[in-house]
Amino acid sequence: MNIFPDEVIEQIFGYVTSQRDRNALSLVCKNWHKLERCSRKSVLIGNCYSISPERVIERFPELKSLTLKGKPHFADFNLVPHGWGGFVYPWIEALAKTKVDLEKLKLKRMVVTDEGLELLARSFMNFKSLVLLSCEGFTTTGLAAIAANCRFLRELDLQENEVDDHKGQWLSCFPDCCTSLVSLNFACLKGEINLGALERLVARSPNLKSLRLNHTVPLSALQRILMQAPQLVDLGIGSFIHDPHSEVYTRLKNTIIKCKSMTSLSGFFEVLPGCLRAIYPVCMNLTALNLSYAAGIHCRELIKLIRRCGKLQRLWIMDCIGDYGLGVVASTCKDLQELRVFPSVLIGLNGPAGVSEKGLVAISMGCTKLHSLLYFCQQMTNAALITVAKNCPNCIRFRLCILDPTKPDPDTLQPLDEGFGAIVQSCKQLRRLSLSGQLTDRVFLYIGVYAEQLEMLSIAFAGQSDKGMMYVLNGCKKLRKLEIRDSPFGDPALLTDMGKYETMRSLWMSSCDVTIGACKALAEKMRRLNVEIFNENEKVDCSVDGGQKVQKMYLYRTLAGRRNDAPEHVWIL
């Protein structure tokens, strides 16, 4: 392998960007391993507890961009007790200490503190991008530190975080010399911001392409901002309430017409339906539309809007659009690739009851390019799933959530095994699957046999016996994440193939039939797994009888050994 000098090989490696490909390169030979690791700029650590920060830094000294994920996915649904973990501070500390030239940090489901943000802001001279997804633990004080100290900041992207808003002047902390902003997203903040400071910031940021406002930014301010930034590509509207006959509104309409580059729209946290006309001019260019938080837009207006969006590739909406509305989507949005339909039942809307299998079938017939789906619905039938499977063989992500989690096919009263079986058989590239509805072990047999590319599987209230889980563990060779709740899988399934878990990132099982004894046995045998057990906020009794069932178990492969930051009610075996 010494045909080319190292510099040339490194150059070639530069064209290889995907982490998986680079991992493959590093396994070829020792020299390639060394060359690869010394030139790797971007690293993703899918589980922050799988390895220590020191080891990551040691291996990749040229690290510029780090992505970390903390809590397991089911933390989103309040299934992980408060204080479980996922603290980013040790990582920031380690990076600062070894003087890594960090430029980008992206965190998902982690606990971030103001101290961490302050340390981050002070330690990395070339820091450019901070992306926080579903994180918690910090306040606007931490954001102020980032704004004030990161002189070359290009991106501050806050998505769906729980931020304590001190209603301070964090936005005013961007110094006048900061003109490098490309992306600013503070939609998840609850408090008021200094509108003047925002407008001045936008005015001095000629490269600003993405701006997402929170609900406190009124329509009048939006108009002034858009005047300064007609080049925006992605806009998140905060409040969209104004008298449609007012001068302010007319000015907004005229300003929006000038935003010729706009292709992505979101927000509308507060909206007066009559105001939507103002955005009609940009609809025909939109490739992404997220109205999943726009509770104020009713079905009719939603449909009127969508009829104008012929180029949509990504659409996130609420189920008040109804089956008829989805039919409109199907006939209008021929380029649609990703669709997410969220339940409006959460907000107690008493309207037509959501969506059903009919809407999904319509979508599958009209939107042949669909590859990602998240669909909350009232009911589903096997026939519909079989049709969808036939129409969308290129589906990569298929997540179906029937609001009644064990509801059978309402037409035949049969379980939905055959329907999902058709999905996994037809969608040969399927990487992610979420099941719901009445399901027996049979569906897992299908998954095990056909879902060859499956990497993530979410199971709830499904199956009849250990066989179900065993089919999956045995069959899905590429499985990385398995999360199960409220299903009758127990010790035999858990212990059937212990080595399998070292090939996966993690396994979650809650309200199943797994016992403490089995978890102990697993932890004992597999030293490179951390097996964590927790019950709801009670300190776990270590002396308890091994036959007792475990409420929640989360296990993951790790090279870092036991972690020492777990709270009292989390027991690491």
């Binding site: 938080y293 809307l349 064990t406 509801k407 009263l413 409220d486």
Partner: protein, 193 residues
């Protein structure tokens, strides 16, 4: 003796989670049976649920944590501003009042937890189940201006008629002019006299 008429079914021991709605449903023979039905969210009768491993989970579906699987951020933020139902909440002894959005809560036990958090007073959940024995009593003023004991009427009816809330000290409650529906102890005492 027709026990049912006395409204004594609330004395029945039953296994079930707090706040599960018990609705009297007449079966084929016209007999009324108290049947546990699912909330509107599920919209499904018992017939569809008695199969597979789902059985034992069914009863607790009303209170199932984390279902539907929508992330908590989205749950908190998908509320239409217009549909918020803010009411004033006062607690005896507290220097200032608070405001609370009834629309955010799914039922009485949810409300009780929220009240406990708001004022740092424990025992709200107990108070709702057993007003006789707790230190504080939650009451509310309804549309007619009457002060009612919280927990008597169905949740939706309560949400619509509640104008303000008050957490009162039990000691002060006697003689306040409450209008409890089916106040058990009082009834039994009066029957016994």
């Amino acid at each position: 003796m027709a026990k049912e008429d006395l409204g004594l079914e609330i004395t029945e021991l039953r296994l079930g989670l707090p706040d599960t709605e018990h609705v009297s449903v007449a079966n084929k023979n016209g007999e009324k049976k108290n049947k546990r039905v699912f909330s509107e969210i599920d919209g499904v009768g018992d017939e569809n649920s008695s199969s597979g491993g789902g059985d034992r989970k069914m009863e607790s579906k009303n209170q199932v944590v984390g279902w539907p699987p929508v992330c908590s951020y989205r749950k908190k933020n998908s509320v239409n501003e217009a549909s918020k139902m803010y009411v004033k909440v006062s607690m005896d002894g507290a220097p200032f009042l608070r405001k609370m959005d009834l629309g955010l809560h799914k039922g009485y036990s949810d409300l009780a937890f929220a009240l406990e958090k708001l004022f740092g007073c424990y025992g709200m959940v107990e108070a709702l189940k057993n007003a006789e024995n707790s230190e504080h009593v939650p009451i509310y003023e309804d549309k007619d201006g009457d002060w009612m004991l919280v927990g008597d009427v169905p949740w939706e009816m309560f949400m619509e008629s509640c104008k303000r809330l008050r957490i009162m000290k039990r000691a002060d409650a006697k003689g306040f002019g409450l209008q409890p529906k089916g106040s058990l102890k009082g009834f039994i005492e009066s029957v016994g006299k």
